[in-house]
């Protein structure tokens, strides 16, 4: 194809001026002139060429040496004592050897092609974009014959049943996604409830020691889990339960709190408890500023005002953090009045 006299011959017909609105040109593609050939230093100066050749083979031999060094480094810096420092030395020196070996091959190859190989410019004519009419007809007939002989267009029962089979074959794959959600429980139900129940004590994360109201001093922040969570094992879903039930407990001056009408008795003497799961995408919100009473989510900078029901004051979160209604039991420990009254964490399809 590349050696035809004029490979574009059959295309020239379509470049003829058309009677349309466009300004027609006889040849829309102007072949740029080949710039004059410029001789390299290595072409003119045999000494320079000799130097370039030496550089290239030195680099290749350097690559050989670096590969051998990488093998030697594996033996010289073993990870036998298991310490992190020996891992570092092992990785560093093997890595340096391999990197140098590959880099030297790359640099030498490029230098070889740029400085030593011939760089004479020549024109390789482009292929025509449009196929020859004979080729186009042949392609069309190939499809038509295939359709005719297979009966794809004629035997509609076969064709449509094939379509049905193809569509159905995707369904098992889609079904497998159901396996991502818990099997024997309703995921909506799981997302809507946490471990907190009426009377469950608030406890310190991770020890699980219950917290007395008198221990929460002004300006302090406690990271809280349900008391019974501490005795749940990892096999029984400790992390799943914790991820939903974590709470941040803070004490403000009671007069600083501006609670909503229906949440007046959800606090105890200035102590408030909020879910630590951001309502945006579920990062733990725990950057509490005790002077401004702002809670900051580190992931996307949502800010919540703890003194005003953890209302969103900045950032992408759509809803306030759910509040855990708390009270004090007869021994003085902080307890939950109930579970959260709304699902914690980010939005999901069925959340209203």
């Amino acid at each position: 194809m590349a050696h035809e006299e004029d490979p574009l011959e059959h295309e020239r017909a379509s470049w003829k001026p058309s009677p349309g609105l466009a300004v027609a040109v006889t040849d829309p593609v102007h072949t740029p002139e080949v710039p004059p050939h410029r001789e390299r230093v290595t072409d003119k100066d045999p000494a320079a060429m000799k130097r370039a050749v030496r550089t290239v083979y030195t680099l290749f031999y350097l690559s050989v040496a670096a590969s051998i060094w990488a093998v030697a480094a594996y033996m010289l810096f073993p990870i036998e004592d298991g310490s992190l420092v020996s891992v570092r030395d092992n990785n560093l020196f093997i890595g340096l050897g391999i990197a140098l070996a590959l880099l030297a091959i790359g640099i030498a190859t490029i230098h070889w092609s740029k400085a030593i190989m011939s760089d004479k410019e020549f024109i390789e004519p482009r292929h025509a974009t449009r196929g020859r009419d004979a080729t186009r007809r042949a392609a069309y007939h190939a499809f038509e014959d295939a359709n005719e002989e297979s009966g794809f267009g004629r035997r509609t029962m076969i064709r449509n049943s094939l379509f049905a089979a193809l569509v159905a074959s995707v369904l098992p794959g889609l079904t497998l996604f159901r396996g991502l959600a818990p099997q024997d429980e309703d995921p909506v139900e799981l997302l809507s409830h946490t471990m907190w129940t009426k009377g469950m004590r608030l406890a310190r994360d991770p020890e699980g020691t219950p917290i007395r109201a008198s221990e929460v001093t002004l300006g302090s922040a406690f990271h809280v889990i349900p008391e019974e969570l501490a005795s749940v094992s990892h096999e029984d879903g400790y992390l799943e339960a914790k991820a939903k039930a974590i709470v941040l407990l803070m004490r403000l001056l009671p007069e600083q709190l501006v609670p909503e009408e229906n949440k007046m008795d959800w606090t105890y003497d200035g102590i408030v408890a909020y879910s630590k799961v951001c309502t945006h995408v579920g990062c733990p919100v725990a950057l509490y500023e005790q002077q401004t009473h702002h809670l900051l989510c580190p992931c996307h900078q949502s800010q919540f005002d703890v003194s005003r029901g953890a209302a969103v004051i900045f950032g992408p979160a759509a809803r306030p953090l759910p509040q855990l209604p708390i009270a004090v039991d007869d021994e003085g420990y902080l307890v939950a009045q109930s579970d959260f009254t709304e699902p914690v964490g980010p939005s999901f399809w069925e959340r209203h």
Binding site: R38, R40, V41, T42, L84, V85, V87, R88, L92, I110, K114, A115, D119, R204, D205, P206, R212, S214, E215, V216, T217, L218, G219, S220, A221, F222, H223, M250, P284, A286, L287, Y288, E289, Q290, Q291, T292, H294, L296, P298, Q301, Q303, F314
Partner: protein
């Protein structure tokens, strides 16, 4: 290019002249600054060796702190009352250079300490005597011999969200920030937990026991002393500094290599 250099008129500057001039200028400025700051440091070494009393502390307080905190620690429009903050808070605020306050700003930054240790302790004693509050811990709490793993776990739960999991510090809202803990002394770690300076919540002994605090301090001291096995930490800030590094140096190198590959040989 090489031939151009030879043909250049004797009076013309080489393209390297500008770079060399900038380099020389930077070296001179840097050298002069280093010399000057060394001289400043040498003159700043005048220490008062006499033991100061509570009475001296009162005078120092009235001269340096009372404008904002009031003559009797009662506080004013510009500064909070110091009733019950205790000598530990005074030591923390003054010995880290946060007080006297530089300016009314979102956060008091750490700066060179303005008083000698003697003077700081005298002021602390005055504040403690007038209205007592949290006091200094025992030496055992600060000895760094606690349970490292437990301390690190407590740090991750209670502190890491603001101070970064490696203690490298992090940003808060509106210009406030949690400072890096890589140079903080054991006493100041303890004081910060107990007194809750500025926007840091208080972690009283009823939240984290003295033993818990000792573990946390131990794990932080261990981190300060341990060499990073991974090589460059890039500030331990995680994806931000690492991303910046790879964008500038990684992609920069790739661009340079690409330019070299496609450039014609001389």
């Amino acid at each position: 290019m090489a031939r151009d250099t030879k043909r250049r008129a004797p009076g013309r500057r080489s393209p390297w002249a500008a770079a060399a001039l900038i380099g020389i200028g930077l070296l001179l400025t840097g050298g002069a600054y280093a010399g000057a700051s060394a001289a400043m440091a040498a003159t700043g070494e005048t220490e008062v060796k006499s033991a100061l009393t509570v009475e001296d502390g009162k005078k120092l307080f009235q001269a340096n702190c009372a404008t904002c905190h009031g003559l009797n620690l009662q506080g004013t429009e510009s500064g909070p009352s110091l009733y019950g903050v205790g000598e530990l808070a005074v030591e923390f605020q003054v010995a880290t250079g946060r007080m006297p306050l530089q300016a009314q700003a979102p956060q008091a930054p750490q700066k060179p300490v303005q008083f000698t240790e003697e003077q700081i302790l005298a002021m602390a004693a005055f504040v403690q005597e007038t209205a007592p509050g949290p006091t200094f811990p025992s030496d055992e709490t600060l000895d760094g011999e606690g349970d490292l793993a437990h301390g690190a776990e407590l740090f991750r739960i209670n502190c890491a969200m603001c101070h970064n999991v490696a203690g490298a510090g992090g940003a808060l809202t509106e210009g406030k920030y949690a400072p890096a803990l890589d140079k903080t002394s054991a006493l100041h770690m303890y004081a910060a937990m107990v007194t809750g300076p500025q926007n840091m919540p208080v972690f009283s002994d009823m939240n984290l026991t003295t033993e818990d605090k000792r573990d946390i301090i131990s794990s932080l001291l261990w981190q300060q002393e341990t060499v990073s096995p991974g090589g460059f930490t890039l500030g331990s800030l995680g994806p931000v500094s690492e991303g910046l590094f790879i964008w500038i140096f990684g992609i920069g190198t790739l661009i340079a290599v690409t330019v070299w590959i496609t450039a014609k040989s001389n």
